[in-house]
C-alpha cells in the first residue's frame, strides 16, 4: 500500500509498524491508561467521548471475554478519512487495536468494515496475515507470555445506521441493524453481551502515536479541550478536496484557505447530521467545544441553492433511518415534506416553526444518534440561510407570509 506522502503533525508523523506494540508490552495496563488520560484523546467517530474513560471501564470489567471493535463503517456523507487510514496507514489502526486488546484484556478485535470498502478487504487481510507471521498478532505476541490477540474483519451491511455503535453490534451479531436501548452501554453489555470498546478508526490510529511518543506530547497539539489533530475529509467547492490533517482549533476560514476554496457561502461541518455554518461565522474553530465534526467538511460556494442541499440531506435521513422509533422514522419524512413545501412556496411560517419544534423533539426523543442529529441541518440551514430560502428565491412569495 502506497503512502501518499501525506504531511501532518500527529497522525501522519513518523511511525514504524509494531513500535507502539513493543512499547506497550513493556509497560503495565495502568500505565497505558495513564498515558491515554494524559493525552485527553476523545473519540473521533463523532460523539467525542473520552477514550481513556471508555477503556478504563472495560479494563475494570470482570468478564471471561471482552471485545475491541474498530468502527470502520464510515457512512457519514462526505467522510473518507478512515479509508485513507486503512489504505495507507493500516499499521496505525491495527497496532492501536492490539494496544487496546492488551489494555482492556480482550483477545479478539473486530473491524467492522463499510460494505463499499470490500475492495480493500483482500489487502487488509494480507496485512493481518503478515502481522501474524511477524508475531504482532496471535499467541504470545512478540514474546509477551500469555498475551494473545487476533483481529477479524467483517463487512458491514451498507446501512448508515450500522455505524452507530449499538446498531453495529446488533449487525455483527447477525441481527437487523437497529440501535439498542441505553443503558446498558456497550462497555458493560456489548458484543455477545460482553464488555466491548467500540472506537473509530482514527481514534485507534491515534493510540500508537500516544504510546510511542507520550500523552503529553499528544496533548500539546490542538486546543485545551480538543487535543491532538484531526483528519478532515474536505469536499465540495474548493480547489484541493481531500483528506487533511490539521490541529484541532483550526479556524474554518483557515481551512478554506488551505484547501483553496473561494466564494464560499456555507460550510457543512460534520456531514449530513452536522451543522451548516454561514460566512458570518467562518472565524469559528473546528473543535469539540465549537464546531465539532467527525471529519466531514462540505464546502458550498455562492452558486449553490441551500434549500436543495437541505433537501438532499433530508432525503438521506428519510431513507437511512432504521425505522424503529417514531420521532426519527416519521419525523424525518415530515421535515422533508416541509422542505418540499418551501420549495413549492406552499407553506406558512407557522408550520415551518412547528417543524423546527418537531426537530427539537427529534433531537431529544429519538432513540439513537441518527434521529437525534438528523434535524441539525434542517434547523441550522433554515435559521442561518432564511433570507436566501424564504425571500431571495421567491419562495416566500405570496404564501410564505
Amino acid at each position: 500500500m502506497e503512502k501518499n506522502n501525506r504531511k501532518g503533525t500527529v497522525l501522519f508523523s513518523k511511525y514504524t509498524r509494531g513500535e507502539g506494540i513493543k512499547k506497550v508490552l513493556s509497560i503495565s495496563r495502568e500505565d497505558v491508561l495513564f498515558e491515554l488520560r494524559e493525552s485527553k484523546l476523545k473519540g473521533r467517530g463523532g460523539a467525542g467521548f473520552p477514550t481513556a474513560t471508555k477503556w478504563t471501564i472495560v479494563a475494570a470489567a470482570k468478564s471471561d471475554q471482552k471485545y475491541i471493535i474498530c468502527n470502520a463503517d464510515e457512512g457519514e456523507p462526505g467522510t473518507f478519512k478512515d479509508r485513507v487510514l486503512l489504505l495507507e496507514y493500516p499499521e496505525l489502526v491495527f497496532d492501536g487495536m492490539v494496544i487496546a486488546g492488551y489494555t482492556i484484556g480482550a483477545t479478539k478485535g473486530i473491524v467492522y468494515l463499510r460494505g463499499e470498502y470490500e475492495y480493500m478487504l483482500k489487502s487488509l487481510e494480507d496485512y493481518l496475515e503478515q502481522m501474524r507471521k511477524d508475531n504482532l498478532l496471535g499467541k504470545n505476541i512478540i514474546g509477551k507470555k500469555g498475551f494473545e490477540f487476533d483481529i477479524e474483519i467483517r463487512l458491514g451491511s451498507g446501512a448508515y445506521v450500522c455505524g452507530e455503535e449499538t446498531a453495529l453490534i446488533e449487525s455483527l451479531e447477525g441481527n437487523r441493524g437497529e440501535a439498542r436501548n441505553r443503558p446498558p452501554y456497550p462497555v458493560n453489555t456489548g458484543f455477545m453481551g460482553k464488555p466491548t470498546v467500540v472506537n473509530n478508526v482514527e481514534t485507534l490510529a491515534s493510540v500508537p502515536h500516544i504510546i510511542a511518543k507520550g500523552g503529553t506530547w499528544f496533548q500539546k497539539h490542538g486546543t485545551d479541550k480538543s487535543t491532538g489533530s484531526k483528519l478532515f475529509s474536505v469536499s465540495g467547492d474548493c480547489g484541493k478536496p481531500g483528506v487533511y490533517e490539521l490541529p484541532w482549533g483550526t479556524k474554518i476560514s483557515e481551512l478554506l484557505k488551505i484547501v483553496g476554496a473561494e466564494n464560499t457561502k456555507a460550510v457543512q461541518v460534520g456531514g449530513a447530521s452536522g451543522t451548516c455554518i454561514p460566512k458570518s461565522q467562518f472565524e469559528r474553530t473546528l473543535a469539540y467545544e465549537d464546531a465539532a465534526t467527525g471529519g466531514s467538511i462540505m464546502i458550498f460556494n455562492e452558486s449553490r441553492n441551500m434549500l436543495h442541499i437541505l433537501k438532499n440531506f433530508m432525503e438521506f435521513f428519510v431513507e437511512e433511518s432504521c425505522g424503529q422509533c417514531t420521532p426519527c422514522r416519521i419525523g424525518n419524512t415530515k421535515l422533508l415534506e416541509g422542505v418540499e413545501m418551501i420549495e413549492r412556496g406552499e407553506f406558512t411560517f407557522n408550520y415551518v416553526n412547528q417543524l423546527k419544534e418537531l426537530g427539537r423533539t427529534m433531537q431529544v426523543a429519538s432513540k439513537c444518534g441518527l434521529g437525534q442529529s438528523s434535524p441539525n441541518s434542517f434547523i441550522s440551514i433554515l435559521e442561518n440561510f432564511k433570507d436566501e430560502i424564504f425571500f431571495q428565491n421567491g419562495n416566500g412569495g405570496t404564501h410564505g407570509k
Binding site: N188, C325, Q354, E357
Partner: protein, 638 residues
C-alpha cells in the same frame, strides 16, 4: 418452496435483557430517586416506568406491554432525567443510581404531543369503522393529549392492502404504529416468529417471511399478536355477518356452543372487571339474539377426558404389558394453535398427539349426527357456531378433515370479542340478563370440563378421572376438595408425579373390554407435565428430543396461549398477567361451586355411551366422529 432454514425467527428481535446488578445487598438493593421532586425509594434495576407506576404517576406508553420484553421504540413514554441531554424512554431505563426525574415538564409534554401527532399523521383509519373503537391505545393517547387536529397532516390513502388470507388473523398494516408488540409476541412468547420488521426508513413495515400472505407462512393462528396490538391493525377474521344471516334465515337451525373461557371473560367487554363469570346470563342473551339452542362445550370437554384418558390407558397398556412400540408421552390435542405448532415444528412427534379431537370439534360432529337425529333436524339445515376464546379455532373448523358428520362439523368459530359485539348490536346489556340453563340433550357439564379454560385444567380434569378409574377411590381422598394445586398457576412449565402404589381398584365397566385389570400399574409412578405458550412448549419438546426428563413423562398438556384458553387470542383486550389471573380465579371458583366436578360422573356423558357411542370410548364410531389425524407440515410451506 421456500425455507428459512434454521433462521426461523427474525433474530433482530431477540430480547435485550435489562441488566440488573447481581449483588445489591451492599446498598440494601434500593435506590433513592426523585420523581417530580418527590423522594421515593425503589428496588435497584426497576425501570423508570415501573417506579412511576408504583408511585401513582401515570406515564403514557404504546410499545410497552407487561407481557413482553422492552422495545423502547414508540418514545411516548419519555421523561426528563436531570443531567442527561436527551429525554429517556422510561420503559427502557433501568434505575441503577440516584436520579431526578421529571415526568411532565414542558419539554416532555411537547415531545409526547409531537410524537402522537406524528403517529396520527401516518395512521390510516377511521375510528368509527374500526373494531378497536373505544378500546384502542392510540385513540386514547390522542384523547389524553388533547389532539384536536392533525398537526402534521393525515394520510388519505391506505398504504397497504389488507391481508385477509388467514382464517384466523386479519392484518391491516395501514393502521400499524410499528410498536412491534406483535413481533415480540410472536417471537418471545410463542417462539414462532413469522412477523418481523422489513425495510427501513419511511418504508419500514411489519411483514411476514418474504412478504407472503399470512395463510402461507407458518403462523399457528394463536392470535396472541392481536391481543397485544394496541391498535386495530390486527384483528380476528370475523364471521358475525354470516352468523347474523343464518339467524335471520328461517330455514336454518342455528345452534351455538360456548366454551368456558369466553364466559369467564366476556363481562370485561361490558365494563365489568376481570373475573366475572357470565355463563347463565350468556345463555339468555344468546337465545334473545336468536340462536335456537345453546350448548355447553364443557360437555365435550368431559367427553374428551374419557376419550383421551382411554387412549392414554391403551397406550400405557400396550407399552407396559404388550411391549408394543407406542409413542409416549401422549400429548393433548385440544389447542389448535398447539396442533399447528407441532405440525410445523415437530412433525416427527405427531404420533404422540392424542387422536382425540378438541371439544369444539367433537361437539360439531355430535351436533350434526346425534343431536340432528334426536331433534329431528336435517344436518344440512344446522348452522353450528362455537364461541371460543381462540382465533385458531377458526382455522381448526376449516380443516378439511373436520367433515366427519358428512357436513362441515362446525360452521363458524366466533371469538369472545366478536360475540360481545353481536350482543351489543342486539341491544342487550349482558350483565343485566336473567340467568338460564343450557339446552338438552347435552345439558349441564362438569367442573372438570370447565377448568379446561386454564393452563393445567385439562390435566387436572384427566387426573380426577384417571385416579378414580385406577385407584378406585375418591379423588377428594387424595387431593383436598379435588383441587390438584400443583397443576394450577402460571408457571410456564409444571411437572408432577403421582405414585400409583400397590392398591388398585376395579376396572370401570366403560373400559372393561380394553384392559382386564390394573395390576400392571401397581408401583408405577405417573409422570405428567403442563406447558402453556408455545415458547414453553418448545422447551419441553426440545427436552424430549434430547432425551431429557420430559421424555419420561406419560402425559403432557400443551396450550398454545399464555395462561391457557383464558388467555386466548380471541379474548377481550387488553390482556395482562393480572387479568389472566382473575379469569383463572373465576373459572376455578365456578368449578368449586359445582356439584358435578368429574367428567366420568357427567350423566349426559354416561348416557351418550349408552345410547349412541355404544361400543365405548376409542371404539370404531368414536374414532370416526371424535378422533382425527394430523398433517406433517414442517417449516416449509409451498
Amino acid at each position: 418452496m421456500e425455507s428459512k432454514g434454521d433462521l426461523r425467527a427474525p433474530v433482530s428481535q431477540t430480547p435485550l435483557v435489562v441488566e440488573k446488578p447481581k449483588d445489591t445487598s451492599a446498598i440494601g438493593g434500593m435506590v433513592s430517586i426523585e420523581i417530580n421532586e418527590k423522594k421515593v425509594s425503589v428496588p435497584l434495576g426497576t425501570t423508570i416506568l415501573e417506579a412511576c407506576r408504583q408511585n401513582g404517576i401515570t406515564i403514557p406508553t404504546l410499545c410497552h406491554h407487561d407481557d413482553l420484553c422492552v422495545a423502547g421504540v414508540c418514545r411516548v413514554c419519555v421523561v426528563e432525567v436531570e443531567g442527561m441531554r436527551t429525554l429517556q424512554a422510561s420503559c427502557a431505563f433501568p434505575i441503577t443510581n440516584p436520579l431526578k426525574i421529571k415526568t411532565s415538564s414542558p419539554m416532555v409534554r411537547k415531545a409526547r404531543r409531537n410524537i402522537i401527532d406524528l403517529l396520527l399523521s401516518e395512521h390510516y383509519g377511521e375510528c368509527y369503522s374500526c373494531f378497536r373503537n373505544g378500546k384502542c391505545e392510540l385513540q386514547s393517547l390522542a384523547k389524553e393529549y388533547g389532539v384536536d387536529n392533525y398537526t402534521f397532516g393525515h394520510v388519505t390513502e391506505p398504504k397497504y392492502d389488507v391481508d385477509k388470507s388467514s382464517y384466523s388473523v386479519v392484518r391491516d398494516m395501514s393502521k400499524c404504529v410499528l410498536c412491534k408488540r406483535c413481533v415480540r409476541t410472536c417471537i418471545d412468547l410463542q417462539e414462532v416468529g413469522v412477523l418481523e420488521a422489513i425495510d427501513r426508513g419511511d418504508k419500514t413495515h411489519i411483514g411476514t417471511f418474504l412478504e407472503k400472505p399470512l395463510a402461507d407462512v407458518i403462523c399457528i393462528n394463536c392470535g396472541q399478536c392481536i391481543n397485544r396490538c394496541p391498535t386495530g391493525a390486527l384483528r380476528a377474521n370475523d364471521p358475525s355477518d354470516e352468523i347474523w344471516a343464518a339467524i335471520d334465515d328461517p330455514t336454518k337451525h342455528v345452534v351455538i356452543q360456548t366454551a368456558p373461557s369466553p364466559r369467564a371473560a366476556i363481562g370485561e367487554e361490558f365494563g365489568l372487571g376481570a373475573g366475572h363469570s357470565m355463563t347463565r346470563e350468556l345463555n339468555t342473551a344468546l337465545k334473545r339474539i336468536g340462536f335456537d339452542k345453546v350448548f355447553d362445550t364443557n360437555f365435550t370437554a368431559d367427553l374428551t377426558i374419557i376419550e383421551e384418558g382411554t387412549e392414554l390407558i391403551i397406550r400405557l397398556y400396550k407399552a407396559l404389558v404388550q411391549k408394543e412400540n407406542v409413542a409416549l408421552p401422549q400429548f393433548t390435542s385440544c389447542s389448535p394453535g398447539w396442533v399447528k405448532f407441532i405440525e410445523h415444528y415437530y412433525p416427527e412427534y405427531l404420533d404422540n398427539m392424542s387422536s382425540a379431537k378438541s371439544p369444539q370439534q367433537m361437539f360439531g360432529a355430535l351436533i350434526k349426527t346425534f343431536y340432528a337425529q334426536k331433534a329431528g333436524v336435517e344436518p344440512k339445515d344446522i348452522v353450528s357456531v362455537a364461541v371460543m376464546p381462540c382465533s385458531a379455532k377458526k382455522f381448526e373448523c376449516n380443516r378439511p378433515e373436520m367433515y366427519d358428520s358428512g357436513y362441515k362439523d362446525v360452521d363458524y368459530g366466533l371469538t369472545t370479542r366478536e360475540l360481545a359485539r353481536m350482543i351489543k348490536e342486539a341491544g342487550i346489556n349482558l350483565p343485566e340478563m336473567p340467568k338460564s340453563d343450557f339446552d338438552s340433550p347435552f345439558g349441564e357439564a362438569s367442573g372438570a370440563g370447565l377448568i379446561f379454560g386454564a393452563t393445567g385444567g385439562v390435566m387436572e380434569a384427566a387426573i380426577r378421572s384417571v385416579v378414580e378409574f385406577v385407584l378406585g377411590k375418591k379423588v377428594e381422598d387424595i387431593f383436598e376438595k379435588a383441587n390438584i394445586i400443583p397443576l394450577r398457576g402460571f408457571d410456564g412449565i409444571k411437572y408432577m408425579e403421582i405414585p400409583i402404589g400397590d392398591k388398585v381398584g376395579p376396572v370401570p365397566d366403560l373400559i372393561k373390554h380394553l384392559v382386564p385389570n390394573w395390576d400392571w400399574l401397581k408401583g408405577a409412578v405417573l409422570k405428567i407435565a403442563v406447558a402453556h405458550g408455545t415458547a414453553n412448549a418448545k422447551k419441553i419438546m426440545d427436552d424430549i428430543k434430547a432425551g431429557g426428563k420430559f421424555s419420561e413423562c406419560h402425559f403432557i398438556e400443551f396450550m398454545a396461549c399464555p395462561g391457557g384458553c383464558l388467555g386466548g387470542g380471541g379474548q377481550p383486550i387488553p390482556t395482562t398477567p393480572e387479568i389472566r389471573k382473575k379469569r383463572a380465579e373465576a373459572i376455578y371458583a365456578e368449578d368449586e361451586s359445582l356439584e358435578l366436578r368429574k367428567s366420568h360422573d357427567n350423566p349426559n356423558v354416561v348416557r351418550i355411551y349408552e345410547e349412541f357411542l355404544t361400543e365405548g370410548p376409542c371404539s370404531h364410531l368414536s374414532h370416526e366422529l371424535l378422533h382425527t389425524h394430523y398433517t406433517k407440515r414442517g417449516r416449509y410451506i409451498a
